[in-house]
């Protein structure tokens, strides 16, 4: 019988956070082996466990999975969070690509030099208010259902709500004009598995700070 998935990453959100959210929402317990020093990372590489010499890496079902998108695809398929057919999967794929684009813009804020932060923030605000949030509000309005695709919980809902929380952390006012997105956020947050993940003390990681970036730079040498 397979054990729990084991997540290999540093103690921060980065590219592993969406994986933590999805596993938690699917009700899957997981362990974490945190990479705390360069030697931990070198060991993983030297043991040939990282296909492209990168993390995230998730040990699951006898495999050493790398590439966050591939990992998320596998988890979503395994736990029936990827739509019921090809057309639903396509919609989910389109939505999550957009979600990931905005998510990445926000994640990279912590890496932005201070003199460029204002410009980056202005771009994030513009894209959020005028492109991405209207797109998803329109999807929810078009069918009036509780979930983005197929009237059923899918990874699209989980990833979008994770994004909504991230946006709230940078500027809570951005969600104000989008009632359907707010309602989705509330609904998903009240699902038992998600509610548990949102409680203090869970494996959810706090917002990335400059100090966390500095520590990650030492480990991964970037």
């Amino acid at each position: 019988m397979a054990g729990k998935p084991v997540l290999h990453y540093f103690n921060g959100r980065g590219r592993m956070e969406s994986i933590r959210w999805l596993l938690a929402a699917a009700g899957v317990e997981f362990e974490e082996k945190l990479i705390k020093c360069p030697e931990d990372f070198e060991k993983l590489k030297n043991e040939g466990l990282l296909m492209f010499q990168q993390v995230p890496m998730v040990e699951m079902d006898g495999m050493k999975l790398v590439q966050s998108r591939a990992i998320l695809n596998y988890i979503a398929t395994k736990y029936n969070l990827y739509g019921k057919d090809m057309k639903e999967r396509l919609l989910i794929d389109m939505y999550i690509e957009g979600i990931m684009d905005l998510y990445e813009m926000i994640s990279h804020l912590a890496l932005t030099p201070p003199d460029q932060t204002d410009t980056k923030m202005a771009l994030i605000r513009d894209k959020t208010k005028n492109c991405y949030f209207p797109a998803f509000e329109k999807v929810l309005k078009s069918h009036g259902q509780d979930y983005l695709v197929g009237n059923k919980l899918s990874r699209a809902d989980i990833h979008l709500v994770e994004l909504l929380y991230c946006v709230e952390e940078v500027d809570a006012s951005l969600l104000a004009a989008f009632p359907l997105l707010q309602a989705l956020k509330t609904r998903i947050s009240n699902l038992p598995n998600v509610k548990k993940f949102l409680q203090p003390g869970s494996q959810r990681k706090p917002p990335t700070t400059a100090k966390m970036i500095e520590e990650a730079r030492k480990v991964f040498k970037f």
């Binding site: 296909m51 492209f52 999975l65 590439q67 596998y74 794929d93 492109c131």
Partner: protein, 176 residues
Amino acid sequence: MFPTSQTLSLVPGHCEAMRMLLADQGQSWKEEVVTLETWGRGPLKASCLFEQLPKFQDRDLALYQSNAILCYLDRSFGLYSKDQQEAALVDMVNDGVEDLIRCCSHLLHNYEKGKAQCAQELPGDLKPFEFLLAQNKGGQGFIVGEQVSAGSGPSQPIVSIAQKSNLRLGAEADRE
């Protein structure tokens, strides 16, 4: 099979893998190239899901986001293994390829500065794919499984970009 049209951006970038996939599967398609001027002015931009190209029209279905389009095409052509573990490997290869495409795309914008570094790093970056090929029937087969898969197609643009940039890649480039 696909009375499709693609509405493309001016640069080959995100569409090249789609073109190669369609061509490999013997499909015909129509291309509508969008100029920067048309894009800036227009209703087309507002009509796109996230105000981005490429757009792929398959009958009454308008598809956006290049990765979503590629996955849809892969599944339509039966290029994704039904075996979840094999599909996971295909996804890993796809995503590794995409990372490399991103690096090579930067090279096209900044060729002189980036060439030396790319020439140094690319052979090492291609090693995982060489390893996978070697593991599968001693390199005489495909990257994953018994047939052309989603993982093989997207790697083509990397080889062609590298070849156009006169980077020597050795046996990997010749085989692909």
